[in-house]
């Protein structure tokens, strides 16, 4: 079903704002998405009407707050089709989720010579935590190469799985290239050798329907702020068999059963991993974002964005001296590009003056930039609220780049 785009755009207050004195053309949703009024209202309502600390008070206001917080957990469970609500752990964001697994699985159990398999297109958040684990345990980081199109080299991947591999940690969709990795096949091949798989879902969660049970991934991690929810909240989904075996991540309040100076016993899942007062308002806002996405329908969002990606790709191909970086067959609505003779930073500044917000730089994927021998790219990324007319403004603004910097 086509999206009711006028209604959606009216739902997002910030789209009425200006950027550099021009109507805002927001093409940076892979960085962070804009928020619907219902999400803003939910966090506002929480602080206005329900604010109390969760899980620890007897009065009714706190009961309401706890209910809102735990309802959001159920909504997340349903949204990603998890089996149990206790497999849903609230964290700060994707980065913290990956660090949690790195700490509790990697640092706690990996031995010298064990191998951790990642890919050449990872975000720094799925590189650095594992490097730290390697430094601490003597494990070795192995990197699956990618092709010139920006697709994972699956032959290399299959050959790199071996008896020493303890974890495959792979980006589901690339933030810098848009590539959607063949995660079903990745997981099947790893599971055939009893290797668990972690998926960094930061860039896939808002663009396609996720079913963690059908995928059979062992961990799936994502951020609220990239799926129309508030910043400062993320989700770690982990199969309970793994989470049960994990040592504590952070110690503190709410993650314990009983504390004495001699011995402490820890709370059950998922609370064992939620020490201290969590970002309750953020979690409630995430719940509202899930309601919003469910109302529109992930399939409808997927079709809308894919149509936009196709349209934008065709328009980009006609721009003189422009090269798209990342031409995988399956992509989320992300287009990275460079223009001959003009540095991405200068392109970003010119686009900014036209009201167009894009990301320029290395996209927290320096090794990937190195792979393509580029210092940086310009990245236009689309969300459910973007329209073809905004692609047209972007293309017209690129002509302005040429006016300033001359033709190739």
């Amino acid at each position: 079903m086509p999206l009711n785009i006028e209604k959606i755009r009216a739902d997002i207050p910030i789209l009425k704002e200006e950027n550099a004195g021009k109507p805002l053309v927001y093409l940076d949703s892979a960085n962070t998405t804009q928020k619907p009024q219902s999400v803003i209202q939910a966090t506002h309502d929480y602080y206005t009407r329900y604010n109390a600390n969760v899980h620890r008070s007897v009065y009714q206001l706190a009961e309401k707050a706890t209910l809102l917080y735990e309802n959001a957990r159920d909504k997340v469970k349903d949204f990603i089709h998890a089996k149990n609500r206790n497999e849903i752990v609230f964290v700060k964001g994707t980065t913290e989720g990956i660090n949690l697994v790195a700490h509790c699985l990697g640092r706690a159990t990996f031995q010298p010579g064990d191998e951790i398999l990642i890919s050449q297109m990872e975000h720094h958040s799925n590189i650095v935590p594992w490097q730290i684990v390697c430094q601490q345990t003597g494990a070795v980081l192995k990197v699956v190469p990618i092709t010139d199109e920006g697709e994972l080299d699956m032959v290399a991947y299959a050959s790199m799985l071996n008896d020493k591999t303890r974890l495959v940690s792979i980006i589901h969709a690339s933030n810098a290239l848009g590539t959607i990795n063949p995660v079903e096949e990745i997981i099947q091949l790893a599971h055939a050798k009893n290797i668990p798989v972690l998926l960094d879902g930061a860039q896939s969660i808002a663009h396609t329907s996720i079913d963690v049970q059908a995928l059979d991934c062992d961990f799936f991690i994502f951020s609220s702020h990239k799926m129309y929810g508030p910043t400062g909240v993320g989700v770690l989904y982990g199969k309970s068999q793994y989470l049960e075996s994990f040592p504590p991540y952070q110690g503190g309040g709410d993650m314990i059963k009983q504390v004495s100076f001699e011995k402490t016993t820890y709370a059950d899942l998922p609370y064992r991993f939620e020490a201290g007062t969590q970002n309750i308002a953020g979690v409630v806002g995430l719940g509202a974002a899930l309601d919003y996405l469910n109302d529109i329908g992930m399939e409808n969002i997927h079709h809308h964005e894919q149509a936009l990606l196709h349209y934008a790709t065709e328009r980009f191909r006609q721009v003189e001296g422009l090269r798209i970086i990342g031409t995988a067959k399956h992509k989320v609505a992300v287009i990275s590009f460079v223009m001959e003779g003009v540095h991405p930073h200068d392109i970003g500044t010119i686009l900014d003056s036209c009201g167009v917000a894009v990301r320029v730089g290395h996209h927290c994927a320096m090794p990937l930039m190195e792979r393509f021998k580029l210092p940086a790219t310009v990245r236009a990324s689309f969300g459910l609220y973007n329209i073809q007319a905004e692609v047209d403004i972007l293309i017209a603004s690129l002509a302005k780049v040429r006016d300033w910097f001359g033709h190739v």
Binding site: H343, H345, D346, T349, S353, H362, P375, W404
Partner: protein, 149 residues
């Protein structure tokens, strides 16, 4: 004049596309790398300094128009200056691109004042100052690469 016109003056575009003194120098006695991790700008400065006088500066590297132009214009402006003079010019330059000052930078800095438009673009200040920070460290005979972060 719009902010953009002020930022990308013809002189900047020209120096950005055709940087001056853009080569490796074999006889330089202070060589240092500067790096802006945020945008990937990277350059190496080759400074020939004798008896506290900068005899010449060359550079190699890659970056945006602002960082290339700033480095290129710096090599021209500081050639023949004493180290103390160079440091004084850097102070003024830094003030020009970071502060809302009413000083007459055109009179004080000459051609370098073409970069004054950067002040309206806080995100671009690091592009304009990378070569300068690298120079100051090179003159102090630092061997540690300079990073703007």
């Amino acid at each position: 004049m719009s902010d953009l016109t002020e930022l990308y003056q013809a002189l900047i575009i020209d120096h950005g596309r055709h940087p001056r003194n853009f080569c490796v120098s074999d006889h330089a006695n202070c060589v240092l790398e500067g790096f802006n991790p945020l945008c990937g700008d990277r350059l190496t400065l080759y400074v020939t300094e004798k008896n506290n006088v900068i005899e010449g500066i060359t550079f190699k590297g890659e970056g945006c128009a602002i960082s290339m132009a700033s480095a290129s214009m710096m090599t021209e402006a500081l050639s023949g200056k004493t180290v103390a003079e160079a440091q004084e010019i850097f102070k003024l330059f830094h003030e020009m691109v970071t502060e809302d000052s009413d000083k007459d930078f055109e009179a004080l800095l000459g051609k370098l004042s073409a970069l004054s438009g950067v002040t309206k673009y806080p995100a671009r200040v690091k592009c304009a100052t990378l070569s300068w920070h690298t120079l100051v460290a090179a003159l102090a005979h630092s061997d540690k690469p300079v990073s703007t972060e």
